[in-house]
């Protein structure tokens, strides 16, 4: 599963060109990127990450859009942002002053919406949030109509959360601004994977060869899809654990091992990430009862003790306490669940910064934006 889901031949409807230059120019009175250079000064080696040159994609739609060097650059940029803010009385950077970030949330998600809002505001962007439950269709218009509206408003970035898989990618073909997938249906949630990787690196160091176990509803989990892609890109050994009914047909092609037995998978693992089990799955005959699920796939104190001594416990939230995770584990030692939320803001600042400032795409050769990750022809 190293392929991108980006459409290779999408023509931008609004420019008449294929893959136009970013719509916003940097202005005549000093570009935000330039004025920010000192703030987020490089380690002088932006192009020297593992795995070759950094190639920031135009949109962040899938974790597959990030190769090793780029993923590491996003994570190290997040670390620099955290350091830059740490010593400040006003926890705000001027980086994206004058830029407009639209949060387009077609699906309820307080946590992710607030995280993106805060990230954009801490970078001094103008932020508008549009929440509409359900699809564009339920309002009588198409997704394309919504895209045209955003285009008319001149959004520099669109952060899109949608209950339909692929909606952010569709939007990216219709608007000039940068589109960030904030979770689409059962497809992906790439910034969640980035914040998880950021959190993992902080606690267990480099991810090469690290054993990370993802447990739960892989079939319907966008968090699982993005994490499998990103963590494997970063060199981790990922194991998926779920009842067979909650694993997709075709999971065999993913860069991850698969197991039905949690105890075995946990033995000596460096981290375990519990996935939320949606309540509607409980009545959908995917497993007999919540109790049986919990017995087989829940993380309790006994199982917690199976992972490595330095190992940590993650959960993207919101948790079903007592279902997939017991309170003793969720609130116990090695649980980094609350820290994940804080790291989410930092990582999203890094993503917004890198996409909007154009730092990388200016520093790197032009073909970077044309990159596709070897999707089917």
């Amino acid at each position: 599963m190293t392929t991108s889901v980006r459409r290779p031949d999408r023509v931008n409807l609004f420019s008449g060109g294929v893959d136009p230059a970013p719509a916003h120019d940097s202005g005549s009175t000093g570009s935000p990127a330039a004025s920010n250079a000192a703030e987020l000064s490089h380690d002088g080696a932006a192009g020297a990450h593992r795995g070759g040159p950094v190639r920031m994609p135009r949109h962040l739609l899938s974790a597959a859009d990030l190769d090793l060097a780029t993923a590491e650059h996003v994570l190290s940029t997040a670390e620099r942002i955290e350091q830059a803010i740490a010593g400040r009385e006003v926890r705000k950077l001027p980086t994206l002053r004058g830029r407009t970030v639209v949060n387009l949330f077609f699906e309820d998600s307080t946590r992710t919406r607030l995280s993106f809002e805060l990230a954009a505001k801490r970078l001094s962007a103008d932020v508008i949030t549009f929440s509409a439950k359900g699809s564009s269709v339920s309002k009588g218009e198409t997704l394309k109509d919504t895209a045209w509206t955003l285009q008319a408003m001149g959004a520099d970035a669109v952060v899109c959360r949608h209950s339909s898989s692929g909606a952010p990618q569709q939007l990216s073909g219709w608007v000039d601004g940068h589109v960030i997938n904030a979770g689409d249906g059962t497809h992906e949630h790439p910034t969640q994977a980035l914040l998880d990787a950021f959190t993992l690196r902080r606690h267990i160091g480099g991810l090469t060869g690290r054993r990370i176990v993802l447990v739960g509803d892989v079939l319907h989990s966008r968090v699982a899809r993005s994490n499998v892609l990103l963590l494997s890109t970063l060199g981790a050994d990922v194991t998926l654990v779920a009842p067979p009914t909650l694993l997709p047909v075709g999971v065999g092609s993913w860069p991850a091992a698969v197991s039905y037995d949690l105890d075995t998978a946990l033995a000596g693992a460096d981290a375990v990430m519990m996935l939320r089990v949606q309540t509607e799955r409980m009545s959908g005959a995917f497993f007999p009862t919540a109790r049986e699920y919990s017995r087989s796939y829940g993380l309790d104190i006994r199982r917690r003790a199976l992972i490595a001594p330095h190992g940590i416990v993650l959960h993207p939230g919101p948790m079903n306490r007592g279902m997939e995770i017991t309170p003793q584990v969720a609130d116990g030692p090695g649980s980094v669940i609350v820290e994940q939320v804080a790291n989410g803001v930092t990582v999203r600042m890094a993503v917004l910064y890198l996409l909007l400032s154009g730092e990388i795409s200016q520093a790197q050769d032009a073909p970077a934006r044309h990159r596709t990750v070897g999707g089917p022809a």
Binding site: V5, L143, K144, T186, G250
Partner: protein, 437 residues
């Protein structure tokens, strides 16, 4: 009637070129003597040197959308697409609004088609009232109506109830009908968006497993045997379905099957990018399935190519994948796709094309005046094809009111030069030629 037409130098079935004289709706002379026939004196002469002539194409599976969704297609616009695509007869699926489940509605569609006059429109009747799968519609009334319905289908939905399917298969024996089944086990395909496999897993789209089609086909073949009736399988899409139908045919089941042009060419990875123009039901499958489907069509396990021409208005396609309507245009691209996928690779010759796109669909649909041999005395339903032409598909240049072609921008081989319906030219050089009325 229209004037006589003398077609010179056309190659029937791509074989030896000959002359054909069309008059009074029939082929009145075929061969070198046609030009000296009395009717040829004032005939319009069509130089068809280098062209292949085939019996007019027959589509057993078309959605004309009228009544109900005249913003997507009408009988008139769909008839135009059919004529331009080389068709002289189409069967119109009953998933309209109101449903074509009564003699009144099927007669309305039949008359609309007759009034347009570009192609024979044969309505298909719904098997169950409102296509709801609960109780049989008045099948005999539709059979006895002016539309003389012989094909019945709940297409778009499966007649999934086994007892209801048994009764339908039994009941239509009384008037020589056939049940055309949309094979889709509903529980196995709840919320299904695309073929279940590696691509659906990656894209996070709910899978439509091959077994949901294969299980229904197997069941229906057994039911057909049991009650001694006749079954037609719509848009067969998987290698496993090919095996099921092949096995049934070996033991003598009266089953026929169709494949669509898009299932002969396009794979499930077209869904990458989430453009709903590639959303269709049954979904695009894998390259392995395509290989099996092509071979089965060549071998006769699959009897016909049917378009499943399914126009959708832009608002039903330019939206989220899971909210978009499934379906693709097909009437104007079908012959070219068959040439590209079957003729050029050597799987089918022109005789074979005539068989799978004209003769067999006419036979399955109970038509006696379509899909006939190119011979003296036969109805003059013909299509002239330039086998060497190539053209680029542009949705907004197609005759349909909708533009949802999955072949947009593709260069396809073969082009319809002219279509003749009972001796009258309905389409010529890519343009319509008048109407009957």
């Amino acid at each position: 009637m229209t004037g006589a037409v003398l077609i010179t130098g056309a190659a029937p079935y791509g074989e030896d070129p000959t002359d054909l004289l069309l008059a009074d709706g029939r082929i009145v002379a075929a061969g070198p003597d046609a030009a000296s026939h009395p009717s040829a004196s004032d005939a319009e002469i069509i130089d068809a040197a280098g062209l292949v002539v085939l019996p007019g194409l027959v589509d057993l599976h078309t959605h004309l959308r009228e009544p109900g969704r005249e913003d997507a297609e009408t009988v008139e616009s769909g008839s135009a697409a059919a004529a331009l695509g080389g068709y002289t007869a189409v069967f119109a699926m009953p998933n309209t609004d109101p449903t074509a489940d009564t003699a009144g509605v099927v007669e309305q569609v039949y008359r609309l088609g007759r009034d347009v006059g570009l192609v024979d429109v044969h309505p298909i009747g719904a098997v169950t009232v409102g296509r709801r799968g609960e109780r049989l519609a008045e099948l005999a009334a539709m059979a006895n109506s002016a539309a003389a319905v012989r094909v019945f289908s709940d297409d778009g939905d499966c007649v999934s109830d086994a007892l209801l399917m048994r009764r339908a298969l039994e009941y239509v024996k009384a008037f020589g009908g056939v049940i055309a089944q949309h094979a889709q086990e509903p529980r196995l395909t709840e919320g299904a968006q695309m073929h279940e496999g590696e691509v659906s897993a990656r894209l996070g789209l709910t899978g439509w497993p091959a077994v949901a089609e294969e299980a229904i086909i197997a069941r229906d073949c057994l039911l057909t045997d049991h009650v001694g009736s006749r079954l037609h399988v719509c848009h067969l899409s998987t290698a496993g379905s090919v095996e099921v139908v092949a096995a049934a045919k070996r033991r003598g089941t009266a089953v026929t099957a169709e494949v669509t042009p898009h299932h002969l060419l396009l794979t499930d990875d077209r869904a990458v990018g989430y453009d709903p123009v590639f959303k269709v039901n049954p979904p695009l499958r894998t390259a392995a399935d395509i290989g099996s489907l092509r071979q089965a069509l060549a071998d006769g396990v699959i009897d016909i190519v049917a378009t499943d021409h399914a126009p959708h208005a832009s608002q039903d396609k330019e939206t989220e994948w899971d909210n978009a309507s499934p379906g693709m245009l097909g009437l104007q691209t079908a012959l070219s796709v068959v040439i590209g996928t079957m003729v050029q690779p050597g799987l089918l010759n022109w005789r074979g094309v005539a068989r799978v796109m004209s003769e067999a669909p006419a036979r399955i649909g109970g038509l006696t005046d379509q899909g006939r041999p190119i011979a003296e005395g036969e109805p003059a339903n013909l299509v002239l094809v330039d086998p060497d032409a190539r053209w680029t598909v542009r949705g907004d240049e197609l005759a349909s009111l909708s533009h949802n072609t999955p072949f947009e921008g593709m260069e396809l081989p073969g082009r319809v030069v002219a279509t003749y319906l009972r001796g009258r030219c309905t389409a010529s050089a890519g343009a319509l030629v008048g109407r009957l009325s």
